[in-house]
């Protein structure tokens, strides 16, 4: 939701308050440790983090990790977009019941690093093959979407952008249920979730509130030896319109009609995905495909995907990838100029070549370096932030990233 018009009206928001989030994290850690001393057996405190630096070769607009970030990377080295710190406490209340709370601090929609409760839920296992969770949960709209910030857990410096930047949703307040069947040596796992989304999507200096938007979805996963195949469907029905009322008031000859035409409220977006992973010894190959159907005229339906292959040689794992995304332009014949301009902001048509290497330098620590070569059309602006609309964006950009990931 790159909106040049909104951006023209006001400048950027304020910077982060480093001290506040640090204090909050320390408090959280201390309170967790206090619990730990009471019952050391049942409590575990774990954490993860990434210190990442990136730069691009284009000063026209800003590269972001996904649309939850209000600003991004230009030509100078910048640590905002890929750095994160997370702490997770898990309490095993009894053999069937546990509670998990995870807090993360990262660059977020309001330009701050204020820590957030990423999830907080109760997990109940009525049988060894069934799991129920209730509370604030991660959403796995796409395969691996619920561990996008745990850099140590995957190969690349960040999840491939062309596949994931469209997905600014991280958690729901709701529940999910999963069931697994063993079929000889293979396994089938089904999962369904429902809840109300929890989050804000930044739009220039303002925020699009998606809090309370109902999200629902289901997935089925098949696993045999080195193969894992997963198909999923999910949707979100937005609770609010985009915060563009004043822009339409100013620029549209018929603001009410424009606002109806570009409405997002009560419009549904459908997400379909298919993922195949082959993971055998030193070789790992992933193929992911998605299709997103947008119910609102403000957004364009799209298809995207990526292939990624890595091969471990000792402690070092070089990898190669290719990702792409294309959205379908809507027919704008007879529409108001402001409407077609806003709709054009949601266009994307690009592909990215990825070359990188992961080095597991010590236990639970990894160092990664990656080159992303983004090659797209000049009209491909949806994935970026702060496009000045001066016609200088070529659709081509290289991104260089170095990250240090750890878990404890």
């Amino acid at each position: 939701m790159v909106m040049r018009f909104a951006r023209m009206l006001k400048g950027r928001g304020s910077g982060g308050t480093f001290g506040r989030w640090l204090a909050a994290c320390c408090l959280l850690a201390l309170s967790s440790l206090a619990v730990a001393s009471d019952d050391a057996q049942a409590f575990t405190l774990q954490g993860f983090g990434t210190v990442g630096m990136a730069r691009t070769t284009n000063d026209q607009l800003e590269f972001v990790r996904d649309l939850s970030q209000p600003g991004g990377i230009r030509k100078h080295w910048d640590g905002r977009n890929d750095s994160v710190f997370g702490l997770q406490g898990a309490w095993q209340i009894d053999p069937r019941l546990s509670a998990v709370v995870q807090a993360t601090a990262k660059y977020r929609y309001d330009h701050t690093y204020n820590p957030e409760v990423a999830w907080a839920y109760l997990r109940y296992e009525p049988t060894p093959s069934a799991t129920l969770r209730l509370g604030r949960l991660g959403t796995d709209f796409f395969m691996m979407a619920d561990s996008r910030w745990v850099g140590y857990s995957y190969l690349t410096v960040r999840p491939p952008g062309d596949y994931f930047w469209y997905l600014p949703f991280y958690s729901i307040n709701g529940g999910d249920a999963a069931y697994a069947w063993s079929l000889g040596e293979s396994l089938v796992r089904v999962k369904a979730f429902y809840g109300l989304s929890n989050g804000q999507i930044p739009l220039a200096d303002r925020q699009w509130d998606i809090n309370g938007s109902p999200m629902t979805g289901a997935s089925v996963e098949y696993q045999y030896a080195a193969w894992q195949i997963r198909a999923s469907y999910a949707n979100i029905t937005f609770k609010n319109d985009l915060p563009i009322g004043d822009i339409l008031q100013t620029y549209s000859p018929d603001p009410a009609a424009s606002s109806r035409y570009l409405a997002t409220r009560d419009r549904r977006s459908d997400y379909y995905s298919l993922g195949v992973v082959y993971d055998q010894g030193p070789l790992q190959v992933q193929l992911m495909l998605n299709r997103i159907e947008q119910g609102s005229n403000s957004f364009e339906s799209s298809e995207g995907g990526y292939v990624l292959a890595g091969y471990r040689i000792g402690e070092v794992k070089p990898y190669l990838g290719y990702s792409w995304i294309r959205s379908a332009q809507r027919n704008t014949a007879g529409r108001q100029v402001i409407e077609t301009r806003i709709m054009a902001d949601a266009h994307v048509d690009q592909a990215t070549r990825i070359v990188g290497v992961r080095w597991d330098l010590a236990r639970n620590m990894a160092l990664k370096a990656q080159w992303d070569a983004v090659r797209g059309e000049a009209t491909s602006i949806f994935p970026y932030r702060n496009d000045p609309a001066n016609g200088l964006w070529s659709g081509r950009m290289d991104v260089y990233t170095v990250t240090f990931d750890f878990v404890f």
Binding site: T44, Q46, F48, G86, Q88, A90, Q92, S98, V100, Q102, W119, Y121, R123, P128, S129, R133, L137, G138, D140, M144, D146, S147, W149, V150, Y152, S153, Y154, A180, S182, E185, S186, L187, Q223, Y224, A225, Q280, G281, P282, R312, E315, D360, R363, N364, A366, V407
Partner: protein
């Protein structure tokens, strides 16, 4: 030539060391009360990676892993799935921080593995073949 003979002797000694102390046979054992007699490689993988929590007979599996610092852990995963410990740990960090599941308990020694396997009917762990006694059943032998 004496140097060639010395080299040959050294390499033979090295090979002996490799096949001797460092490479005693690792096996997967279950608590004898579990009712499980044999498992395939894929079934062992499914249990140790938390993909399934049950044996074929419905008994709840309670896998026992080892700490990173114990050399058997690296040997076990290398022989079972050809994976480095960093890859196994990356897998578990995804499981833990996505909220899917917690990793199995970690034993610090082979005696510890035995103790934990015997403490629950569905206990399953990996030890050296010579450590296995009548209280456990060897269900899978790892390829050398």
């Amino acid at each position: 030539m004496p140097i060639r003979r010395l080299l040959l002797l050294c390499s033979m000694f090295w090979l002996l060391m490799q096949s001797g102390a460092a490479h005693a046979e690792l096996v997967v054992v279950v608590n004898a009360r579990s009712g499980v007699a044999a498992m395939s490689r894929n079934e062992v993988v499914n249990v140790f990676f938390g993909r399934t929590r049950q044996f074929f007979n419905g008994v709840e599996a309670q896998p026992v892993d080892m700490v990173d610092s114990h050399p058997d852990r690296a040997r076990f995963y290398s022989a079972l799935v050809g994976k480095d410990l960093s890859e196994v740990n990356a897998y578990w960090s995804r499981q833990v921080f996505s909220g899917r599941q917690q990793p199995p308990v970690r034993a610090a020694s082979q005696d510890d593995v035995m103790r934990l396997v015997l403490s629950q009917p569905g206990g399953i762990g990996f030890i050296e073949l010579s450590k296995a006694d009548a209280r456990v059943r060897v269900v899978y032998e790892l390829p050398k």
